[in-house]
Amino acid sequence: MTQSPASPSAEPQTAPLWRTVLGYLFDVRVLGVLGQIGFIVVVVFGVKAIGVNFAENAQKLGESQFICRDGTFSYRCAYDFMESESGFDISDTMIDHTNTDPYWRSFAVGVLNTLKVGIFGVILTVFVGTFAGIARLSENWLISKLALWYVELMRNTPLLIQIFFIYFGVILTAPNLDEAIQPLGLPFFLSQRGLNIPSIQFTSSAAIWLAFLVLGIIQFQVLGVILSRREERTGQPSNRFSTGIIAFIIIAALGWFVSGAVSETQGLMVTKGSRIREVNDIENMMLQRTGLNHLDELDSLTEDEIKDFALQVCVLEDSASETNFTSQLRKMGIPYRVRRSDRPDQATERYADEKCDVFAATKSILAAERATLENASGHLIIPIKENPVVWSIPTREGLNMVGGSRMKPEFTALLLALVLFYGGTLAEIVRAGILSVSKGQSEAARALGLNEGQRLQLIVLPQALRVIIPPGIGVALSLAKDTSLGIAIGFPDMYAASYTIMNQSGRVLQMFVMIMLVYMLISLGFSVVLNWYNEKIKLVER
């Protein structure tokens, strides 16, 4: 309308109806409501279409999909088939699994494998990505160019191809176990059979040692407060930090010996006739057996002779007792051979057949096993010293690797490929985050006398994190979901296990619902943790 309200003399005109309606149509409030209604209609029709399709398909699949154990039909019994025997083996398992286990256990093995790759993958990716991102910004020409090439190579080739390349081109072409690649002489062995790495094993006294460590941390805090009070009073600086660290080390060392001395769970079964009454007697036995005066003279014997004289030790597979006992034998300089059994009764059988001189395990196992021997009183269980934590280091033994833990080739390849690929993606995010922190921040840090490490750690990274975290969550989620690509190289992740279950049982629908639910739970789990962190570090602004 052209008339201004300031001119009351003008006649009030009634606008034609179509104009009023048109006027409403262009009202942003009306437009907003119309838009929402339109969207709801689309959603309702979409969901309906999918639902009808789903119901029809379920109908086609037939009632056989939903048969309960008592033979009746019910949608509630959709997952009853999970109780039946799976009938297939899985090559890489974290929990025990045989082909007689039910489907749900096979599925659980797959879920655990997915989680294993996902969690280790995300942790390693954070390190690789942060390092590469910082390296990209390095003033050192070589470092920044290397990081650039790495990022470009990873970003510009498909992940699936990289997984294939690492599996077929790197892991499977690695040498045999007897020529395993050992970088820098460290106890890491890369071979066709995967990667062997050292692992930590805990004996039962670890709990006591852990208590000492907690005590040490508490004392560190308390000492810090006391010393800083004294500092305030006297004005004398008192190296709180180093004093606290030294005290912590002393307490930790004390705890190590105390927990070793107090705990008497580790034992050794020997025959009375061997005349071994404590661990040190083994040395005398060996001297008698070899006819030497001193164990140092072992060098004079041939390798075969040493093999014949070696102490035969029976242990259970993957037991901390083995690592604990053999590390003591090595310290004493006694040659030994280990025979591993899966079950205690197998080990006892070997021991009874005199295949081994001693049987090392926890005292409770030994006591139970001794009772099964014919001549129980002819055998003694002697205590052996134990360390709370023992390093299990992989070593070559004939055609096998023993000790440590082994990462299967498929797992190694998948983990390596995911970490390298997403490390490259994260590197760019980290770089963007660091560049988002204004130059003035770095200048202020330098002007205050902070060194380069402190500048990065205290000023730049905490601010960069705010920019890095949201897209970083996306990287973590992508990585967690892309573990499903493991099926391409035969890694038994959740999808691979489900795929087999689907083929065998025909329950495609049920399995896909489960797969999607689990992926969603994993992703939501990651999101919740990372979003909580993101919320926590947000900047406070006016």
Partner: protein, 255 residues
């Protein structure tokens, strides 16, 4: 407001600058600057945009590297030796045009950060001293807020407190009031005036004439990377010698 003075200096000339040249690529930003400053002197540097005045004071704590000539701060020559650079940065504080407070830390943590990490003070001691400086600049009640919650003038005062907590002997001000709203300029200038009177050696790039007339011992006029003229405030403003200075003063005074 009365400020505790800086630690005493035992040299005759706390800043010695000899024939300093600085290039940004092809562009020569500083073309042979010479300057000697006694402890406790207050020097105001003025000059047109791009004359190299900011670059010059940024060379004094090695935020920029000079390529020729010598700079000796309190007996330590700035060289490629990282220990000398760190030594100088501990003695020289700097206040920036854009404040450059750390937005992820509270006001108190902003001030205590460097004493804890560079001077290795305990947190308690650093916070106590931080609180003391915050009181001196007049905003102790803002200690637990974040920089983003303060006004520009308050932020700049926090930045000054942060610099002072490191107990510097020399203070560099790089256009400290240029980014402030007019009504906040005086609260920052008041603090600077007090600092000047308590014995700090101060080099300030600023066009605040009132401040310069009141507390400066010398005014330096820079143009095209050189010191064109230096004089006491009275003579500088009333009887400038060089034509370039006259032109510049007429531009800033009659607009």
């Amino acid at each position: 407001m009365e400020f505790e003075g800086p630690a005493q200096s035992f040299v005759d000339e706390i800043i010695i600058v000899e024939n300093v040249h600085k290039w940004f690529g092809e562009f020569e930003a500083l073309r042979g600057v010479d300057l000697r400053v006694k402890p406790g002197e207050v020097i105001v540097i003025i000059g047109p945009s791009g004359s190299g005045k900011s670059t010059f004071i940024r060379c004094l704590n090695r935020l920029e590297e000079h390529q020729e000539g010598r700079i000796i701060i309190d007996g330590t020559e700035l060289s490629h030796d990282i220990r000398n650079i760190q030594e100088v940065r501990r003695e020289v504080g700097m206040v920036f045009q854009q404040f450059n407070l750390f937005p992820h830390l509270t006001v108190l943590d902003n001030i205590a950060l460097a004493p804890i990490n560079v001077r290795n003070w305990t947190r308690d001691r650093a916070e106590e001293i931080a609180m003391k400086w915050l009181t001196r600049v007049g905003i102790p009640e803002q200690a637990s807020k974040f920089p983003g919650q303060l006004s520009g003038g308050q932020q700049q005062r926090v930045a000054i407190a942060r610099t002072l907590a490191m107990q510097p002997k020399i203070l560099l001000f790089d256009e400290p009031t240029s980014a402030l709203d007019p009504e906040m300029i005086s609260e920052v200038l008041d603090v600077m005036r007090d600092l000047a009177r308590s014995g700090y050696t101060i080099l300030a790039v600023t066009h605040e004439m009132g401040f310069a007339r009141e507390v400066a011992n010398r005014i330096i006029f820079m143009d095209a990377g050189k010191i064109v003229e230096e004089n006491n405030p009275e003579d500088f403003y009333n009887n400038p010698k060089e034509d370039r200075t006259k032109l510049f003063l007429s531009q800033i005074l009659h607009h």
